[in-house]
Subunit: 200 residues, 2 copies
DNA sequence: GTCTATAGATCGATAGAC
DNA sequence: GTCTATCGATCTATAGAC
């Protein structure tokens, strides 16, 4: 059985007989988060996914590097859909920012889950990963600053606030995980929520 | 003990014939910062330090794990001496906090240098390292909150501010390195400096 | 103390049966 | 598409000469 035990699927319909690449990306992400990219061996991945090396190389001919790229791309897609796009399109800018913080709170499991992209930033072992990482943060800062401008902040202040927020989220993740105290993360998100209060 | 490898010493006096354990700790630290703990192989370390495996195991019989522990201990000592103790003993609390930010700015090379402890926090591969990491941040938060109290902040506000500051430093490091933009780090430190302005 | 040589395990990656 | 078997490379760690 190649379906992870934790994942639900409709038992009434036919069970999935074929594994899809997209099914194992979340598992890969968790493995990389937990062990680090270099610390996650193919044996670890094999065990976590329930797939043999043959299958893994069928989906990712480029090996572990391609797995990392795929995971990063998936994370980027998730944030594009659940964070960046809403920031751009939501009419009420205050709601847009609050929704973003909710999405972040949810994504990082209230601080229990680490940030793979942040971890890769600190130990930049590969230049091949630095481009998507750079784009990820750049897009986040940009869309957030735009929303803050619509909230009434000056362009300069909006840029500064966006930096404070993204940086605050990353730092809260580091400190919360290091201290093994999720409350640090939730408290930080709460503070950010009030910091961006609309001007006037 | 804290001499970086790049530092010159008086060539007139006798060159060091014996290597001391403390001499290679800074090099080990940089290697772990750059490649990550799992990504730094003994070959990498051998090349960086110029020492053979025999010498490395002479100094660190416990292998790489002991090297990491020693590096963490050295970092802890450095912060104890240059950050925590000054925070506790400097008479003027405002100067104490400002000196701390200066020390941090210097230690992380204005954002060019990553935080090994922060990196280890995000990918907590070993429980053996989590204790010194936890203590490091706990002590930082404690001594900083004390200084902020002496600055006139309430106990609660001081605790909150200390969290914001430590978390802000870590987040600024992540974002600055991910964006390859040191200005993000220096700007963040500047903001923290004004955030802790004495009350009244 | 420092080196080289090497053991033993594990790594990433491939080949081929089914 | 998935598995097992296996390769060569690399890893950590040790042994022993100097």
């Amino acid at each position: 059985m190649t379906i992870p035990a934790s994942q639900n699927w409709d038992c009434e319909t036919a069970a999935r007989l074929v594994t899809e690449r997209s099914d194992i990306l979340p598992i890969l992400g968790e493995v990389f988060r937990e062990h680090g990219v270099e610390g996650a061996s193919l044996s670890t991945i094999t065990e976590a996914t329930g797939l043999g090396k043959g299958s893994l190389y069928h989906f990712f001919p480029g090996g572990k590097d391609e797995m990392v790229e795929a995971v990063l791309a998936e994370i980027g897609d998730w944030f594009e859909q659940h964070v960046f796009q809403p920031l751009e399109t939501t009419d009420d800018p205050e709601r847009a920012v609050n929704d973003m913080l909710d999405a972040v709170l949810d994504y990082f499991h209230s601080g229990r889950r680490g940030c793979l992209i942040g971890a890769l930033s600190l130990a930049k072992t590969r230049d091949s990963f630095s481009e998507p990482i750079q784009l990820y943060f750049k897009r986040w800062l940009k869309t957030l600053a735009r929303a803050l401008e619509r909230l009434g902040h000056s362009r300069k202040r909006a840029k500064e606030l966006s930096e404070m927020i993204v940086l605050g989220i990353q730092g809260a993740l580091v400190l919360a995980r290091a201290s093994d105290d999720r409350a640090i993360f939730t408290r930080a998100i709460g503070r950010l929520r009030t910091d961006v209060a609309p001007v006037g």
